[in-house]
Structure formats: C-alpha cells, structure tokens
C-alpha cells in the first residue's frame, strides 16, 4: 500500500516539479529544456494515473492523510488523498488533455517570447487541478479551487500588454471570488456543524445535518450548505449569472482556452457537486436551484453562440451551454451522467478548441470567421478532426457526445423534481441551438467561399475599440493562403479525436449503469436519477439505434440542415432575420446586458461607494469634524481664554472684585 501512496504523490508532484523548473530556471533550460521538462512531468503524471486506474479497477481504493496542515479549535486541517473511481477518472482526463495541450503548445506558442513562462503556468495548473480532484477534504479542495483560479488569472492575462487581456483576467478572478465567497461560507457551515472537513466524516454525518436548522435563521441547514457550495460551483463552472468571465477569458492563448476554460478547470464545479452528492441528495430545494440555473445556462448561453463571429467565442459559448447540461444532470440526481458528459465534453471540446487554434495559426492569428471559408482544402487534418468534434458536440448517434447528452435528456425527462419541466424544454431546445451554432461555425470556416486574404479586418471578437498594435492577430495578407499546422499541432488533434468518437460507446455501460461509480456517488431512494434509463438500456448500439427515432436527433438534424441552408445556400436569410428582429439581435449582441449591468452596478457602484465613504466618512466626518474639530475646539476655547488675559491690570482687578463678590454671595446664602 505504501508504494501506491508514493505513486499518488508522484501524480501531482511531477507536474509541480516541471512548473518550478521551467518557471525559475527557464532561461537556463532554454525553450526545448522548458517544454521537455514540463512534458516529462505531465507524462509521468499521466502514466502514473493509468497505473492507479488499473489498481482502482482491481478494487484498491484509498483515503488517507499526507500531512496535517494545521490544528485549531478541535478541527484537524489536513492534506490528503481520496483515490476512488471518480478521482481516477478525473485524473486520467486532466493528465491526458494536459499532455495533449503541452505538446500542442510547442507549435502554437513557438514564436512567443513568454514560451517558458507559459509552460510553467500550464504545468502549475495541472498540479493544482490534480490536487483539487485528488483531495479527500474541503480544505485541500479549496486550495486547489483557488490555485486553478490563480493560474487561470495568470494565463488569461498572459499577454499582459493587451488592455482587453488584463481587463478579462481581473474580471475572471473577481467573478470567481464571488463564487468562492459562497463556497467558503459553505465550507464554514460544514466545519461548524459537522466538526470536520474530511469528506468521509462529513458524509457520515449528513443525515444528522439534514435534520438541523441553521442557528439564527431557521433555514434548513443542508439547503444552506448546498446552495453556498453551489455558488462556488457557479463561479468556477460559469453558470448564470456568474458566467460573465468565461467568454472574456478567450483573451488568453488558445491552448489554455482548451485546457482550462473548456476541458478541465471549468468542470471543477461539476466535479465538486458530484463529489458532494451525499449532501446534495438530502436537499431537494438545493437540487431544484441547481437544475434551474443549469437549464437557463444551457439554453440561453447557446443562443449567444449564434451571433458570435470570433471562432473562439463560438466555442466558448458552446462550453457555457454544455456546462449547463452537466449542471442540469446534477440537478436531476444523474450525477454519473454529469460526470460522463464532463468526460466526453473534455475530449471533444479540447479537440474543438485546439482545432480552432489550428485554424487561427493557419489564418495567421485572425479569429474572425467572416474572413475564413473553404479551409478544408488547405487544412485537411484540422478539417476532419473538427468535423468529428462537432458531430460529437451535437450528439450525433455513436459519437461520444450522443451517449452523454442523450442520457442527460432522458434523466431530465424522468425527473419529478420541481423545475424539471422547464429544464426539459431548455435542454431539448438547446440541442437544436447547439447543432445550429456548431455547424454555422463549421460551414463558415471550412466550406463555402474563400474569404481570406481580401479585406484586412483586424477584427478580434467584439472588442473593436482595442489597439491594433499587438502582433497576435494580424491575419493573412492579400493573396496569401492558409496552411496546415505542424505535426505537434495536428497530432494532439488526432489523439483527441479518437476518444471524442469512441469513448462514449465504450464507457457508457460501466459508468452510467454499472457499478463503477457506486462507491463515489450516492443517489437517494426518492430520486429517479438514471434508474429508469438503466431499466430500458439495451447496450450502446441499441441506444444509438433508438436514438435515431427520438426528438433530440431530429432537432439536431434540423439545426445542421438549417445552418447549411442559411450560411451555404441563402446567406441573405440570416441577414434579413437580423434586420427584421434587430431588437432581439441587439440583446444577443450585448449578451443580455449582463456585462453592462455589472459594470454599472457593481464596478462603478463600488467605486462610488468607496469614494463616498472615504471623502464623506473618513475625511469629512472623522477627520473634519471629530479630529480637526476637536483640535479646533481646543483652539477656540484657548482663543476665548486668551481674550481674558489682556494684560491690563484694571481688568484683572475688576475680575477679582466680581469674583470675590460672587463667592461671598454664595457663602452667605449657604450660611
């Protein structure tokens, strides 16, 4: 057992060592040294994860402490590992995608002066994410939680001379902090009422906690805990209304959009709720809350994908929408379906992002789809892999996304929890929307007229006001042709395309209907979860065959066909619709005005409040009235007293006589 513990430690520490070496000694190591050492670290972590996965399949679970971080007030704060099926699955996903992204980065960042720094950051991210998923307690969970947030902050602002990038990274950090605020309070409630931060110990007391009320408020304790924890998940997994940071995070280099802002970090919230299933199962109110937030995100963020012209932003809104699907699955107690979708999504979304990155390389850092078209001739590998990724995303039968998304829709269909009806409408409509924006992007990029090399838009997302000084998006010169990317870029695409297609049909049975997650995920008896689906499950191929006659399949097909018709055959129609429904289009263009609201109410409001408190409170009242006021009072008294001290003897004499007279009067009257 102890040799396994060493292996567990090796998984996070190998990337950490790579990060430290590349970060502190980047200049000495040079470029190839930096990517060599970090890739080696992640490769070691991946191989160790595979070994651990085999070990867990043989039934060897682990829950133990590495060291005691601190003790206080009867609470033990520890760093420790919980190795179970859920953890190992996450370890495999994180290390595999991270490895692919590390290799890809060699090609994507090859001209960047911050090459070593970038490798250091993504390895540090891998370490943080592994600590998060391997934790056996809330303290370490929070550590990992904030650490991935830090790396995300550093990477979004990687090009720190771009005003939009450093705006986006501050925004991302602060919005995540709003989520962490709730998360920390949830952890605090657990510590206060359960008296422990260890998962197993807290879960053992869950029934007791569910019967309690929160002191001073009368609220059911478990609902309060779960909603607080979920607010943390809303920040990290970008659920409405804390989603606003994720689209802006696309300011970061594309490899991290794939790794952090699509495949792994943003799924931390989903993972956390699944991990906490023994708590969430005991509060229907919290589950309903989760469900409604998730459904809203799934549909309404999908709509926004339709109006984007920046290729990365389309994928970003698609990520938001898919995270909504996972959250919906959590809300209907289909935790294993959520985690299943998390896994399939990690592969196909990393693939789509890296494919988009490959397109961006080919286009010489032009990200505007209006300047693309017909790229399939010039970038065949990118084209095929992106097509496979898109089919997985829209849930085409047999592709991995089909199994995970269909399971979620079926689970919503079977659910009886309040909000399930609304959620069903959202996820079904969402299927159509997903197919529409995905294939709109696919057709605009890879098919149709070749629009590159003509006008020089210098357009980057919706930040038209930014300085065009940066050399990160200059686009193709007139007459120049796009080209396929080098092998370090295309190899990860191919390696990611394989699981994007196959992983669903291979793993659906053990993950959803088998015993794989039995030890990690708990579903209460009164919740349907996946039990109805399990009863009718006839194997992966049977499910795919059945899928052809269900509504989601036809909705997806309708989306694909409509996007083809609109953008390949009759591009005048979407333009006409845009004119006809300009009000709706404006709302979508402005992303439902969330950003505007936050800027006016929170950002500007806080500054106004701060200025008011500073100038009105500190300066005017405390310093002006109280401090300088008392100084003035002393001065004023002294002025009056000084008037009396005139230096004229007759006035002193008069005062004395008056005084003696007054005293005598008093004395006589008293006597």
């Amino acid at each position: 057992m102890s040799d396994m513990k060493a292996l567990y430690l090796l998984v996070p520490l190998a990337p950490l060592a790579g990060a430290i070496l590349a970060g502190l000694f980047g200049r000495q190591l040079g470029r190839s040294g930096a990517h060599g050492v970090t890739i080696l670290g992640v490769l070691v972590a991946f191989l160790a994860s595979v070994v651990i996965f085999q070990d867990v399949r043989n039934g060897h679970l682990f829950n133990g402490t590495v060291y005691t971080w601190m003790e206080s007030g009867g609470l033990k704060f520890e760093i420790g590992f919980l190795i179970d099926p859920l953890t190992t699955m996450m370890m495999l996903v994180v290390t595999f995608v991270s490895l692919m992204v590390h290799i890809y980065t060699i090609g994507y960042m090859k001209d960047d002066p911050g090459y070593q720094r970038f490798f250091s950051y993504i390895s540090l991210f891998t370490f943080s994410m592994l600590m998060l998923v391997m934790s056996n307690n809330f303290l370490q969970l929070f550590f990992g939680w904030e650490a991935v947030g830090l790396v995300s902050y550093l990477l979004i602002g990687f090009w720190h001379d771009r005003p939009t990038a450093i705006y986006a990274n501050l925004k991302a950090f602060l919005v995540n902090r709003v989520g962490d605020f709730g998360f920390l309070l949830g952890i605090g409630l657990i510590a206060a009422y359960a008296g422990s931060l260890n998962y197993a110990e807290v879960f053992a007391k869950a029934e007791g906690l569910a019967a309690m009320e929160m002191a001073g408020t009368g609220w059911p304790l478990m609902t309060a805990i779960c909603i607080c924890l979920f607010i943390g998940a809303m920040g990290k997994s970008a659920q409405v209304p804390l989603h606003v940071w994720l689209p802006d995070s696309m300011e970061g280099p594309t490899p991290i959009s794939a790794l952090i802002h699509a495949a792994t970090m943003v799924t931390a919230g989903i993972f956390m709720v699944a991990r906490m299933s023994p708590l969430f199962e005991l509060s229907d109110a919290a589950l309903s809350f989760v469900l409604v937030i998730g459904a809203t995100t799934a549909l309404f963020m999908g709509f926004l994908g339709i109006v984007q012209n920046d290729i990365k932003r389309v994928v970003a809104y698609s990520t938001l929408s898919q995270l909504g699907y996972m959250t919906v699955a959590l809300g209907v107690s289909a935790y294993s379906a959520a985690v299943f979708h998390l896994m399939t999504h990690a592969f196909f979304k990393a693939l789509l992002f890296l494919g988009a990155g490959s397109v961006i390389i080919g286009m010489h850092h032009d990200q505007d789809m209006r300047n693309m078209g017909g790229l399939r001739k010039y970038m065949p590998i990118t084209w095929i892999t992106s097509l496979l990724g898109s089919l997985a995303l829209i849930g085409f039968p047999l592709f991995s996304g089909f199994y995970s998304k269909d399971s979620i829709i079926e689970a919503v269909h079977a659910a009886t929890i309040p909000g399930a009806g609304y959620a069903l409408v959202c996820v079904l409509l969402g299927v159509f929307v997903t197919a529409f924006y995905s294939f709109r992007m696919y057709f605009l990029v890879f098919h149709g007229e070749e629009r590159f090399g003509k006008a020089h838009h210098d357009h980057h997302g919706d930040h038209e006001d930014e300085e065009p000084s940066s050399d990160h998006h200059h686009g193709l010169a007139p007459g120049q042709k796009p080209h396929e990317s080098p092998w370090v870029v295309t190899l990860p695409l191919v390696l990611l395309a394989i699981p994007s297609v196959l992983i669903g049909m291979i793993t659906i049975e053990p993950m959803l209907f088998g015993t794989w997650f039995q030890s990690a995920i708990f579903v209460a008896d009164n919740h349907v979860g996946l039990s109805q689906l399990a009863a009718s499950f006839t194997g992966a191929f049977g499910m795919a065959a059945h899928g052809l006659v269900t509504a989601p399949f036809w909705l997806a097909m309708a989306g694909v066909v409509l996007s083809w018709y609109f953008y390949m055959r009759r591009p005048d129609i979407p333009a006409a619709i845009q004119r006809r429904f300009s009000a709706i289009h404006t709302v979508l263009e402005n992303k439902y005005y969330f950003d505007r609201f936050n800027e006016i109410v929170f950002a500007a409001g806080a500054r106004v409040l701060g200025t008011g408190l500073w100038k009105g409170g500190d300066r005017a009242l405390i310093d002006g009235v109280a401090v300088n006021g008392s100084a003035r009072l002393v001065g004023w008294v002294a002025q009056i007293a000084r008037l009396v001290q005139t230096g004229h003897l007759y006035q002193y004499a008069l005062a004395m006589i008056v005084g003696v007279f007054v005293l005598l009067t008093f004395w006589l009257n008293l006597g």
């Binding site: 904030e146 309070l185 806080a606």
Partner: protein, 493 residues
C-alpha cells in the same frame, strides 16, 4: 539555554547596539554604521530563535521568565516572560528589524547612524512590550516606543511629515493616557501590585470592569487601529520612509491587538463579553467600509495602509468571538500581516526609490522592465488578497470558520474580504504592473538588484512556508489560547 536571560538580550542588544550605532556619528562613517546595525540586528534576531526552538508547547505558563525588583518602594519589578500569545511576536519583530536594516541600506543617505539607531532602539522597546509582565514596565516600553517612530516619520518622512508625525503622536498618546489611569486603578485595587498576572486573578465589579475596558479599548483601538480612530494610519504611512512603514505595519499595529489579549480579555472578562458586540461591529466596519475605501485610493501606500486596517479588523473580530479558531486565527493573521504588509511596503519602496512617486496613475507596464520584481509583487499581492498557499489565507480562513460557528451573518460580512481584498489589491496591481509601458520613466526602470532580491526572496519564503505548513505556528499557541478562553469563561463578578 534556560540559563540565559534571552528576553533581556532580545530587548537590550538592539537598544544598546542602537546607542553604539548612534555613536558612530556623522555620515562619513555611514558604511560603518550600516554594518554595525546589520550585525546588531542579526544578533538580536539570533537570540530570539531559542525562544521558538526551546518553547514548551504543553504549558500555558509564562516561559523564559526573568524577575528583579526595580522600584521596590512601589513594588515595581523588572518582570519578563512570554507565552504562546506573545513569543512569536518577539521573533517576528527581531526578524523584521533585519529586513528594515537591509531595506534602508542604500536608500537612506542622510543621518544614517541616527536612522539605523532609531530602528534598533524601537525594536528593543517593542520586544519589551511583548515580554513585560509588570504594568509599569509595560507602560514605559509602550510609551517609549512612540518616540523613535515619531522621529522616523518626522525626520526621514515625506513633505507633509510634521502633520503626520504629530497626528500619529497625539492620537496614540491620548489613547495611552487613559490606559495609565486604568493601570493606576488596578494597582490600588490589587493591593499595591503592578503584576499583570496578579491583575488577571483580581475580582472586579461590573462598573469598574466596564470603565477599565473602555480605557483599554481606546488605548488599544488607536494602535490597532480600529474604525473610527484609524485616520492617523494612512497619513503616517504616506509620510513615513519605507522602513518606517514596514515597522509600523508589521509590528506597531500588533501592539494594540496584543494589548487586548494581555489586558482587556483576562483582566475584565465580563466587560469584554458584554462589549463584544460593539467590538465585533467595529471590526466588521473595518473589513467592509475600509475595503471600499481602499478600492478608490490613488496612492499605493494609502491603499496598502487601508488594506492593513481591513486586515486588522479580522484580528479584533477573531479575538472577540471567544472561540479558539477565532483567537488563533487572529494571531496567525497578525504574524502573516507582519510578513505580507511588510513585503507590500517594501515593494512600494522599491518602486518609489526609482520613480519617486507613489501615485498609481504614474505607473503601468512595470512588468516589461522589471519582470523579477513583478513576480515577487504578484506573490505578495496574492497573499494580501488571501490566496490559499500563502500566509494571508490561513488567518482569514480560521477567523471566517470561527465566525460561522459564532454567527453566520458575521461570517457573511467578514467573508466579503474575499471579494474586496482581491478587488483593491489586484486592481492596483493591474494598473501598476500590467498594461503597456506608461511613460519614459517606466521604460527606463532597472529591475531589482541582488540586495532587493534577497529581502524579497526571504519574505516570499516566509509567506509560502506559513501558507503551506502553518502547523508549527498554531502549535505554540494552543495551550495559552485554551487557558485564556477558560479564564475568560469564568466570571469575575
């Protein structure tokens, strides 16, 4: 080890060494004065290490005690000792003194001997405060420590230094005069004893308890500083030289907080319990109100000064919830704030030495010319924002957990620091460090030299070590904090 009068050494080596440095006189002997000061500071730090290494974590009794009659006629004694509450501050203080001497190495070119001497003497006096167990001895050290800091601000400070120095002096003096009255009252009540430990056991009625509490509250609140008697601090910081700000933030603010634990809570426990809602309210105002005020500051030093007040709000909040997570968290926060705020002021000093401006608007794009500095500054900014893995997280986390136990809404307001602290710190960082190079001055900046790297690296190690493994720090506190809580729970009425 126990044979050595370690606490006396910790007090008198810096004071006598400081006088020796003073004796080197004029600035032509400045190199000698610097070397001598460094030597004294290092020796002064080394003698405090056995306090930590040899500390007995199993007892709440005073350790390394020394006792000698001083003025027998009034039963005033030279009585020293440390417990789990005070010991770490002696070590921290001696450590920060070394940092300050190194930080002032090149920057201070005028009256070098006096500058170094003032810091050394202040360091010795502050060690006296943390280890005095006699009321008069404490008071003498407490008042005497004002003088060097007053001089540091008044002589080596900025343009408006005289106003700031006098404001600082009057605020704190006014507070401590009330404490003198309380000390004298306790002397009479205790039957002619100035022993603080005797006062802990002294039965007192509610009315005298309340009056003593107020006297102490005003004295200590000014030092901490608590809202609304905090306005001297931003002025003092802005005018003080870098070293002065470091000592002010890292050590001087801790004196008031320490006073609450040594005097208010154990001597007048009933009044402290009764007044807890007031102190908690003031602490929460410090966290929230000051957080917003910090956000809109245009001067880097003022911003960090306000952030200090907010962080100290966590300290007083932790003390008055009367649970061990709260008190130990507050103590951890005090130590961490010593490292982090010290480092933040040193970072601002690094910039100020080059640009002669503390104005945020004069900066931008510093990372392009000073990448090493930017990395250190990022670490300390994150620590200031309470990121896990840094020391800044530990204390805040403990106090928030303690607060949830105490009252959810208190915790709710306290936890807003997660957002506010990140907002004001990182927004400043963004405007100063990130972005395009703002002007020619920034374009010509030189990155940190070896000396600057050295002290920033040492502080960075402290911040990280305490964040990754705070166990040794809390371990020494347990016995004393538990004893304090047991003591406070027993009514004196």
């Amino acid at each position: 080890m126990t044979g050595m009068p370690l606490l006396s050494l910790a007090i008198w080596i810096p004071i006598l060494g400081g006088l020796l440095v003073l004796a080197t006189g004029a600035d032509r002997n400045a190199p000698l004065a610097r070397m001598l000061a460094l030597g004294v500071a290092v020796v002064g730090f080394l003698v405090t290490l056995p306090l930590f290494a040899g500390f007995d974590t199993t007892t709440s009794a005073m350790q390394f005690s020394e006792f000698a009659p001083w003025i027998p006629r009034f039963n005033i004694n030279y009585h020293l000792g440390v417990d789990g509450i005070s010991m770490l501050f002696v070590v921290l203080n001696a450590f920060i003194t070394v940092m300050v001497v190194i930080a002032g190495w090149q920057v201070i070119q005028e009256r070098v001997a006096q500058y170094m001497a003032a810091f050394l003497i202040m360091s010795g006096l502050m060690n006296g405060i943390f280890s005095a167990l006699d009321g008069v001895l404490f008071y003498v050290f407490f008042e005497a420590s004002l003088i060097p800091l007053y001089l540091i601000i008044g002589i080596w400070g900025g343009a408006n230094r005289v106003y700031a120095a006098i404001k600082f002096f009057l605020f704190t003096l006014a507070g401590s005069l009330l404490m003198l009255v309380a000390v004298l009252y306790l002397f009479v009540e205790a039957g002619g004893s100035f022993s603080i430990l005797d006062w802990h056991k002294l039965p007192l009625g509610m009315t005298p308890q309340t009056m003593i509490f107020w006297a102490f509250l005003i004295a200590f609140a000014v030092k901490v500083p608590m809202w609304p008697v905090h306005t001297w601090l931003p002025d003092a910081h802005v005018e003080a030289p870098t070293g002065g700000s470091v000592v002010l933030a890292a050590i001087a603010l801790k004196l008031g907080a320490y006073g609450f634990l040594r005097f208010s809570l154990p001597i007048v426990p009933d009044a402290a319990q009764a007044m807890a809602p007031l102190v908690i309210t003031l602490s929460l105002i410090a966290v929230v109100y000051i957080g917003f005020v910090a956000l809109v500051q245009t001067d880097m030093k003022k911003l960090v000064a306000y952030s200090s007040i907010a962080h100290m709000g966590f300290v007083t909040l932790g003390f008055f919830m009367f649970n061990s997570l709260g008190i130990e968290g507050a103590l951890v926060q005090m130590i961490s704030h010593g490292f982090v705020s010290g480092a933040m002021f040193l970072c601002i000093g690094v910039l100020y030495d080059r640009m002669h401006s503390r104005n945020i608007a004069d900066y931008g794009g510093v990372v392009r010319t000073m990448p090493k500095f930017a990395a250190f500054f990022m670490l300390f900014a994150m620590a200031n924002a309470g990121l896990p893995g840094t020391s800044g997280f530990v204390g805040e986390f403990m106090v928030i957990l303690g607060a949830v136990k105490f009252n959810f809404w208190v915790a709710f307001l306290a936890a807003t620091t997660l957002i506010l602290g990140a907002a004001y710190t990182l927004w400043m960082y963004k405007r100063v460090v990130f972005g395009a190079i703002a002007n020619d001055h920034v374009a010509q900046l030189q990155d940190i030299n070896g000396r600057e790297s050295a002290f920033l690296a040492i502080l960075a190690l402290c911040v990280l070590a305490m964040g990754v493994y705070p166990f040794p720090f809390t371990e020494v506190m347990h016995a004393s904090v538990d004893e304090l809580l047991r003591h406070v729970a027993v009514s004196k009425l």
